[in-house]
Amino acid sequence: MSAAVLEVRDLQTHFFTKAGIARAVDGVSFTIGKGELVGLVGESGSGKTVTGFSILGLADPPGRIVGGSITIGGAELVGRSEEKLRPIRGRKIAMIFQDPMMTLNPVLRIDAQMIETIKAHEDVSADAARERARAALGKVGIASPDERLAAYPHQFSGGMRQRVAIAIAMLFEPELIIADEPTTALDVTIQAQILHEMQKLCADSGTALLWITHDLAVIAGLADRILVMYAGRIVEEGPVDDVLDHPLHPYTKGLIGSVPSQNVRGRPLAQIPGMTPSLLHLGTGCAFAARCPRADALCRSEAPALTSHGPDRASRCHHPHLDVAAAS
């Protein structure tokens, strides 16, 4: 791993609701190196999206970052004022969202949206900005960019819109792109194209990528490293092939087992029993204990710490699948 672009240390984002404090992100730490593609995996409600937004300082009220540190290229982001965060957003860190139908403003033409972004960060003429916008569209594989620039979002298909969103994210060749399930709403052929495009763009510009998803298949094809999140904590991390082939945490194993292609035809699909626990009522024990086939009294009373297993691997479990890792 080369020098870290993003360093998140013990990040805590809590939501102060009437029903109590929800620890959506509770002590998350990770680093992303230059040009590295990292997958952040977890179920709905595991805190992966909140982690993404926290990095940009955009955790919505009643959510608030209550502790930890986030540095981008060495500069601290936590505690910065809105005005001081703004130059970072879009320029150093860009974000791509899940639903491309919703992330472009329906009443503004593509050129207006792109030029406005460029002019928000750089003092350039409208012509120069338009030229940049056109180049950016060309780079993400949009044919006849001039025609497309003058179009409204409703004239684009889902895949095209996501390309536009990627083009906007890549305008400044940021150090990091946070992609929040950007291919979930697309069909598989378009999904493959977009993944390929992202891989190529990141390799060309040295942009690091934090890919937030619940889809292990996407991560398997794209990422260098994987972080598995559960109930606001990272429960397992490591190089993507290692983690997928030899998961240490029972939760990771369950996730992999839940991928339909892993199951035998005709048999009921494997699933992780139970639901993601309510973040309001996490006990003292391991958050996964109630759903875990390996849980015992220790798991229910004491939360496991993140323990290192080898140079790049770590897992937060009292009873990791070390035996399985050794056997296969």
Partner: protein, 310 residues
């Protein structure tokens, strides 16, 4: 698992076809003209506006120029010819003014008061409503309680109370109408801005490092315009009617600047003596104006309502 995604990723998206480039505006107008009655209303409004604002050019008489008005011509029925051979097609009023000319001049005042107060109230309500929706929390609660308080009084009452304090005059009535109406706009804008605010494109704009004012006015506002336009049209008609009511009651405009309401009030005294035209013709002019604006407003609501999208 890994193999599935690495293969088959063509470079460009040339497969996706080019769609016909119809802007939202062209579609809007073609939808709008589907209704004949609304088209008629729009044509009527345009004619009324042209007639009202070119009143000095097309009106046969300047009803404010006492040299042109003769008391000897007072209360002539429609079609009567004056002393100097001029035909009063709509008759004359108690002061001998040509009603047709008086209506044109009256329309000019009614329309400008209605449109101006409507427009300023729209701007005020829009800024207040957007602020409430975007700021949220206590600011929102405070602003909306003021709006609720205001809306719990009838608009006529609010305007009457204000005019009682301010006195007569065209500027006073515009102020009174703005105060009576801004809350409607504020509530409408806040409602749609709250919906827009929670949409992803607002979040995306924030992620791109755009400033608050830019997000509010360039991204949220245009998406709130459809309901605002509808309310604006209907409220303008309402403002014209309200102004006519106030003038009719004698608290609105001074006698020297007769609006339609004042003309109706003047003619009202003659109703029982059979001189119907003095009140009825200005009344018809007011009715046609308001109905036309409402017809256009109704059609706008149908066209701009996403739930009724055909």
């Amino acid at each position: 698992m890994k193999a599935t995604l690495d293969e088959a990723a063509p470079d460009t998206a040339t497969v996706e076809s080019t769609l016909p480039s119809d802007g939202p505006f062209r579609r809007f107008w073609s939808d709008f003209f589907e209704s004949r009655i609304a088209t008629l209303g729009l044509v009527a409004i345009i004619l009324i506006v042209i007639a009202a604002f070119s009143a000095p050019l097309i009106a046969p008489q300047d009803p404010y120029d006492l040299a042109q008005v003769s008391v000897l011509d007072a209360r002539l029925p429609p079609g009567e010819v004056s002393m100097d051979g001029y035909t009063f097609w709509l008759g004359t009023d108690g002061a001998g003014r040509d009603l047709w000319s008086a209506i044109l001049y009256g329309l000019r005042i009614s329309l400008s008061v209605g449109v101006m107060s409507g427009f300023i109230a729209l701007l005020v309500g829009m800024v207040v409503g957007l602020t409430a929706a975007y700021a949220g929390g206590r600011t929102d609660a405070l602003i909306m309680r003021v709006v609720d308080l205001q809306l719990s009084f009838p608009a006529v009452l609010v305007a009457l109370m204000l005019l009682a304090i301010l006195g007569k005059g065209i500027d006073k009535i515009i102020i009174a109408l703005i105060v009576a109406q801004w809350a409607y706009y504020a509530r409408t804008v806040r409602g749609s801005a709250l919906v827009e605010r929670s949409k992803d494109y607002v979040e995306a704009a924030a992620c791109l490092g755009l400033s608050h004012s830019r997000i509010v006015f360039r991204h949220i506002l245009p998406n709130c315009l459809p309901p605002l336009i509808v309310v604006g049209t209907v409220q303008t008609a309402h403002a014209i009617a309200l102004e006519a009511t106030l003038s009719f009651l004698g608290v609105g405009l001074p006698q020297t600047e007769p609006s339609l309401g004042l003309l109706i009030a003047n003619g009202f005294d003659y109703m029982l003596s059979g001189r119907y035209w003095i009140a009825v013709f200005p009344g018809v002019a007011l009715l046609v104006t308001i109905v036309s604006i409402n017809l256009v407003g109704d059609q706008l609501r149908d066209v701009l309502n996403p739930r009724l999208q055909r």
